[in-house]
Amino acid sequence: MSRDPARLLAARVGSYRPNAIVSVLRSAYPVVIGLVIALLLQAMIAPKLGPFYAKLLLDIGIAIVLASSLNIVNGFAGQFSIGHAGFMMVGGYAAALITYYGSIKFGWLAPGAYGVDVHGGFLGSGDALFLFSCVFGGVVAAVAGLVVGLPSLRLRGDYLAIVTLGFGEIVRVLVQQTSDVIDPAKAAGASWLDAAKALGGPLGFTGTPTYVSPTPWLEDASGQQTGHAGIFFTFAIVSILLIACYRLKTSSHGRALLAVRENEIAAEAMGVNTSRAKVVAFVMAAFFAGVGGALFAHEVGVTLNPKELGFQKSIDIVIMVVLGGMGSITGVVLAAAILTLLPELFREFAEYRMPVYALALIIVMIVRPQGLFGIKELWDLAFWRRYVVPLWRKVAGGWLIPRSRQHPPAAIAKDLSSRDDDGAPKGAP
């Protein structure tokens, strides 16, 4: 064995790298926690709150998916897009196409029944089809994102915004050209191509199965299944998206995006492949917007309607991102929740609600131009550091937070700083 100190140190650094299983588990555990939270929301909160608030919870979840996905392209990469509802519409219609015509083709329809109902229990065949449709919707939207992202290499700022706006409008017009949804009695014989041409047109896609419903999936007293685990699925997707956002933001890819946002020329000079970064941001954002659209398409009490998913919807999503703070994950989540709740809470002032909302938006923009959180996250705020962190330390100190929370690389850095340049301990001859 060699006594060369540099080689010893290298061996030590190597030993800090966790093995494959540990690293997979380490990156999977936030998702597991997210799934558990989603399950708890579904199983415990939803029955207690009643259908109205449970539906509100669903709306908030979907708003978070849409706003956080726009945050990737708008907040991280700084590419201003005001056609996000277009991606949502692409994903939603693709998913509705799969579940509606799919469940008819699979023969999941009670004889004589009109419209398509949910099929199978929790994580049963119906849920499998629904989850597949979410991914499919996301992929189709991601392809659209690639198509819109490519012009972003040529256009900047306002002009890019205009192109995304044009994209959203074109999608809306194209959807409006489709014919009425094929009646379930006849749809079994229709080919997928025919089905894709029958998306409901201007009236909207009626009869999509309501997999995203707030009522619990448990059976009621008569053994009849009453709903589907919509809150679980929605918040499972929310947690996956938020973890993806967080890991993106703290990775070198995310820093490349932030660099593009701050100064494209400087980023390029630093070796960032700006074209690639921008297109990747567009594709990712479009994928999750498509998934959000798929959730929206299967939500209870929602008819997928091209008019509703037009320019106005895109603007709603942009407002959430800007109000939350462009690039702040937690800020955008908070803004999405607040902006979904507020109109419901002020429902009794029906007529004055919108003017006040608009006025509040103008005032917030003048008084606090950087949005609620600016670029910071919740845990960066002075309030959080001063009050929540000490409290957390006090409560969880002994048993939840490990005694030595020193991150291995930090330990190495400390180790290195205590050595001379040649790797020998400081002060050694």
Partner: protein, 306 residues
């Protein structure tokens, strides 16, 4: 042949309407470099204000006198000019140094505000209305079986008159020179003794007055006035905005050319292909033009400096 002529007449009339709105977008972009999303709502207010004036002054029931139309035109232009200046002073001026995105969101806020205040009971209400005919509905001449209506001629002549006056204002007067200077370089303009804030206010006023004229002409031509938060206004505003972009935003003559181009494409597409896809043609033209020439047909390419 008569179909061709009819489409031609329609597209010229529609193009002049688009031009009147597009100029507001392009003027504001010229001096402030941002997309004024509230502009289509100023146009809406113009249409509604002229309706309210016409009905309260009693032109709806009695025979319309000759002076009715100019009177209402001037009044609604004055109202909207005031509105535009008020919006600029209250909402946009505090954000002069803020990032452009904030100004954009503020403009959206102003747009939502105008739409929804317009829907209140004591303002314009939530019901669509019918504009009283201020101009006699008769055809002037008949060419190849196509009646050229007095309304269309009025729309085109009035729009043309306003456009030429604006052209004269911008290129022949001291005020216009100041506007061009602010648009060219705000900082240097203020060093040369130009009151930049005043010029920006005036620009907003002019753009809004033109939108008001467009609103009145729109109401006269199409008669039905939808409630202020209706999606048709937003779409109309978006198309006019597309016209401004296609012509090269910030360029006054380009906006007129873009408006005519958009109207021609829309009308001929609707007449000869599918009438349901008229919005599609407009936005496809937009994307094609931006991809081929990102600064618009008549815009100058901006060189980015480090």
């Amino acid at each position: 042949m008569s179909k061709l002529l009819q489409t031609l007449v329609n597209s010229i009339a529609l193009g002049s309407l688009y031009a009147l709105i597009a100029l507001g977008y392009t003027l504001v972009y010229g001096v402030l470099r941002f997309i004024n999303f509230a502009h289509s709502d100023v146009f809406t207010v113009g249409a509604w204000a002229s309706f309210v004036l016409a009905t309260t002054l009693g032109f709806a029931v009695t025979d319309t006198p000759m002076y009715a139309m100019p009177l209402i035109l001037l009044a609604s232009m004055a109202i909207c000019a005031g509105l535009g200046i008020a919006i600029e002073t209250l909402a946009y001026r505090p954000l002069r140094r803020a990032p452009r995105l904030n100004v954009l969101i503020t403009a959206i806020g102003v747009s939502l505000f105008l739409q929804n205040v317009g829907q209140l009971k004591f303002v314009f209400g939530t019901q669509p209305q019918r504009m009283p005919p201020l101009i006699e509905d008769r055809s002037l001449v008949e060419i190849l079986g196509v009646h050229i209506r007095l309304v269309d001629v009025t729309v085109v002549l009035l729009a043309g008159f306003l456009l030429f006056s604006l052209e004269a204002l911008i290129y022949r007067t001291k005020l216009g020179r100041a506007m061009r200077a602010v648009s060219f370089d705000e900082r240097t303009a203020s060093l040369m003794g130009i009151d930049v804030n005043r010029i920006i206010s005036i620009t907003f006023g002019i753009g809004s007055a033109l939108a008001a004229a467009g609103g009145l002409l729109f109401a006269l031509k199409y008669e039905s006035i939808k409630q202020s938060a209706d999606a048709t206004w937003v779409l109309l505003g978006l198309k006019a905005f597309v016209a401004a972009v296609v012509g090269g935003i910030g360029n006054v003559r380009g906006a007129v050319a873009g408006a005519l181009l958009i109207a021609f494409v829309e009308m001929f597409g609707a007449a000869y292909f599918s009438p349901h896809m008229r919005d599609l043609y407009v936005f496809v033209i937009l994307i094609v033009v931006l991809l081929v020439k990102p600064s618009g047909l008549f815009g100058k390419a901006v060189v980015e400096k480090v």
